[in-house]
Symmetry: C2
Subunit: 212 residues, 2 copies
DNA sequence: TAGATTGTTAATCGATTAACAATC
DNA sequence: TAGATTGTTAATCGATTAACAATC
């Protein structure tokens, strides 16, 4: 069995991916760990360590081929796959995510939105219909849905998550400000916006204290 | 000078805050580090270590007073302050943030949105007018704006950030998928949604490989 | 070949966990 | 007082950085 990769490394992978894409767009096809370290802000040593968790992508005396490395990291991130995706909660945030084309481009194909509030049901976002959350589980099974984005209020998030797992979802991208308690073989990634904002708030206060 | 608190600790503070608020709502007024560890998922030892960075809030043989601890952590996070805030970029995400009342309740008072696309300028989100990004710097100075939320496309984010810093902003909450390069005394907190989604993608793939 | 740069081992640093004396 | 639980020091663990032999 391959050795377990630490979350610290995993969370750096998307950043490598983004910077390598940038380099390609700037038509830079070769880079050393030292050069990359200067633009990405990790140490050259860390970059080499990170990449060598997945294989020897570089060449001594030369560095890394940007196209190859980009393609390898895309593969490691699983971006060659496409996933049928739904959004649960068609409020402002759910709509914003539905409208963002970048996620579709990366293979997360949004198939429908679900909503409990009858005022929204039947409306359309882009070409996506907003469906009644009552039919969500059925829809998941019939349409081979793999990923759900939870954009509901915190009160209903756990209940929705339970239903998602029961319907056989593989992954949840959770924007509700709760830590979901789930058993079963499901992957959860949280985006806790309030926690991020409060961190900014802490840092602002710390800064003010420093200059006092 | 007070010793520097590590980012690992800082990022746990909002989670303590959230769980303590929950406890208060459930009318639980006393808790030990052991009990808290069971609901929040950190070790009791880590909880005591974390809190003791900021002071001895507990009592031997008793535990912690939830009200007091909640209030102390609120203060540490700077949530007693209010900050005049603007949103730059009035697309879906900018509008979603403008519409989310939770941020206002925590003291981040959104005063205006700014937009480059003339189609949006003059429209209203809630009772907030969308203003021309051309007048942003002037507005910041005249209205004592402390925080800016960047919701622009990645192409304009760095340019906007430069202008924000020049106008004297204190903190930036950045949703654009770039790492802003800024000098000057400004705090930046990033929300990189694509990185979060790609992390989910990695974990999904890893899971599939494990079951193969 | 000489120079550059990787892959990888070893050293260091920092964060987490364990242990326990202090004390409510 | 006896029991509970903190605050804090010490031990452990894991992640980052440094160093360098291998090699293109």
């Amino acid at each position: 069995m391959a050795k377990q990769i630490s979350m610290a490394v995993i969370r750096r992978l998307p950043k490598y991916h983004r910077y390598l894409k940038d380099l390609l767009e700037r038509e830079i096809y070769r880079i050393s760990s030292k050069e990359l370290s200067e633009i990405i802000g990790f140490t050259a040593s860390q970059i080499r360590q990170d990449l060598n968790n997945f294989g020897g992508f570089g060449q001594q005396g030369y560095g890394y081929n940007v196209e190859e490395l980009y393609s390898e990291i895309s593969k490691i991130l699983g971006l060659h796959n496409t996933y049928n995706t739904i959004i649960v909660g068609a409020g402002n945030l759910g709509q914003a995510i539905a409208n963002y084309s970048g996620f579709q481009k990366s293979g997360f194909e949004i198939k429908a939105l679900f909503e409990a509030n009858p005022r929204f049901i039947g409306l359309k976002i882009r070409d996506l219909e907003i469906l009644d959350v009552e039919v969500m589980e059925e829809y998941i099974k019939e349409n081979n849905i793999k990923i759900a984005v939870i954009c509901t209020p915190k009160e209903s998030a756990q209940d929705i998550a339970n239903k998602l797992v029961k319907a056989g979802i593989s992954g949840i991208w959770n924007f509700a400000p709760v830590d979901l308690q789930l058993d079963g073989n499901v992957v959860v990634e949280n985006v806790h916006l309030t926690e991020s904002l409060f961190t900014l708030s802490y840092l602002l206060n710390e800064k003010e204290e420093a200059t006092r």
